[in-house]
C-alpha cells in the first residue's frame, strides 16, 4: 500500500511522542507570534527536532521546488509590491524592509510545515479517535485519526502526480485539458487509497477478533494467558 510505503509512520517511543507533540505545538505557536529575526530560532529548532525524530521527513525541505515556490509566491511579490499587499502592516514597507517581511512569511511557512510533520508523525489514530469520538461519534473520530496520519501520504501523492504530468510535457500547452487530467489522476489515486485503507481497517478488525478468540479459547481450556 502506497500509504504505508510513503508515510514514515508515527514516532514510536513515548518520550519521542511527547517531544514531537510539544515541539510541534511550540513551533506552531512561535510561527504565529514571532517576527524577524526571532523567527529564525523556531525554524532551526523545528528542523533539528524533525531530523532527530524522523530524518526521512526532512526530504521535504531538500526539494528545490519548495524553496522556489516560497520565493515566487511569497518573497518576490512582497519585495516588489511592498509589504501591505500581504496585509502585513497598515503602513506599507518597501525595499529591504519588504524583503524582510517576505522572508519572515516564508520562514513561517517552513516552521509550520516542520511542525505539521512533527505532529502528524506522532499522532496515534486510536487516541484522536477516542477524543473526537466523544464529540462526533466513534466512526468520525476514527476517520479523523486516520485522516491526520494520511496527510503526508496525500501530499506526496499530489506531488508525484503533478511531477508525472510535468514530465509528460504538462503545462506547456492545452492547460485546461491537462488540469482536468491532473484532477482525474488525483481522484483515481485517492479512490484507490480509500480501498487500501478500508482493507486495512477490516484486517485490523479481524486481527483484534482473532486475538480475542485466541484469549477466550485459552481461558476455556484453563491455560494461563502469557504476561
Amino acid at each position: 500500500m502506497e500509504t504505508r510505503r510513503d508515510n514514515p509512520g508515527p514516532t514510536r517511543a513515548r518520550g519521542g511522542i511527547a517531544l514531537a507533540l510539544g515541539g510541534g505545538i511550540t513551533a506552531l505557536a512561535a510561527a504565529m507570534l514571532l517576527d524577524w529575526p526571532a523567527i529564525i530560532g523556531p525554524v532551526v529548532a523545528s528542523l533539528l527536532l524533525l531530523g532527530l525524530l524522523n530524518r526521512r521527513q526532512l526530504a521535504v525541505f531538500a526539494s528545490p521546488w519548495l524553496w522556489l515556490g516560497l520565493a515566487v509566491v511569497l518573497v518576490v511579490p512582497v519585495w516588489l509590491f511592498g509589504a501591505s499587499r500581504a496585509g502585513a502592516a497598515e503602513n506599507a514597507a518597501y525595499g529591504p524592509a519588504a524583503l524582510r517581511v517576505g522572508v519572515t512569511m516564508a520562514l513561517r511557512v517552513v516552521t509550520t510545515l516542520a511542525a505539521m510533520l512533527l505532529i502528524t508523525g506522532c499522532v496515534a489514530p486510536a487516541r484522536v479517535a477516542t477524543l473526537i469520538g466523544r464529540l462526533a461519534g466513534r466512526e468520525v473520530g476514527l476517520a479523523c485519526g486516520i485522516g491526520i496520519n494520511l496527510l503526508p501520504a496525500m501530499l506526496e501523492t499530489v506531488r508525484r502526480t503533478t511531477l508525472a504530468l510535468r514530465l509528460r510535457g504538462g503545462w506547456r500547452r492545452k492547460r485546461l485539458a491537462n488540469l482536468r487530467r491532473l484532477v482525474t489522476a488525483i481522484g483515481v489515486q485517492t479512490v484507490r487509497m480509500t480501498e487500501d485503507v478500508a482493507e486495512a481497517l477490516l484486517l485490523a478488525q479481524a486481527g483484534v477478533r482473532h486475538e480475542e478468540d485466541d484469549g477466550d479459547s485459552r481461558e476455556d481450556s484453563g491455560e494461563r494467558k502469557p504476561t
Partner: protein, 204 residues
Amino acid sequence: MATPARARWIAVVAVFGALWGAAEITLGALLRSAGVPLRGTLMTGVGVVVMLVGRRTLGRPADARGSSLAIGLVTAAILPLSVSRGFVAAMTSVVGEALCVEAVLWVGRPAGGRFAVAGLCAGLVPVVRRVVTLVTLYGPAALGVLRDKTLTQQGGAALGLAGLTAGGLLAVVTVVSAAVGLVCGYAAWRLAETIRVRLGRAAV
C-alpha cells in the same frame, strides 16, 4: 465498525477529508498569502468537488449518508495545522459547507442536478458567514465594512470592482460564489463518473 460497507465509509471519509485538508493547508494558505482575489470561493469549489466525489464513490445513497458532513469534520480537524492565521473562520466555513451538502443530499437518489444544487448551496456559505460575522461585529455599518474589506483584503479592487456600491459588490460576490459552487457540483458528478470508468467499476 462491523461491515465492509462501514469500513469503506470510514476509509472514504478519512482519505477525502485528508485530501481536502491537505488542499486547505497548502493551496489555501498560499492563495491567502499571495492575496489572490476570491480565494475563499476557489477553496469552496475544491471542497465541494472533494466532498461530492467522495460521496459518489460510496455508491448507494444509504451507504453514503452522513459522509459529506463527516468529510467536513475531518477537514476541520486538520485545519489547525494550517499556516494561515484565520483557520477558525475557515473551520466554520468548512463545517457549514459540509452541512449544506449533507442537507441537500440527505434524501433521494444522487443525480447531476442535485449535486449542482448542493454545490450552489455550499458556495453561498462563505458569503453568508462573512455577512453574519460583520453584521454581528459592526451592526448597521457592516455593509460599508464589507465593501472596504472586499476591495482591499479580498482583492476586489484588482478585479475592477471599485466603482460598485456595497450592495452591488455583495450581489456580485454572491452570484460568483453561487456559480462556482454550481459548476463545481456538476463537475464533481462528472469527475466521479470518469473515475468510476477509469477504475472499471460497475455503475450504481
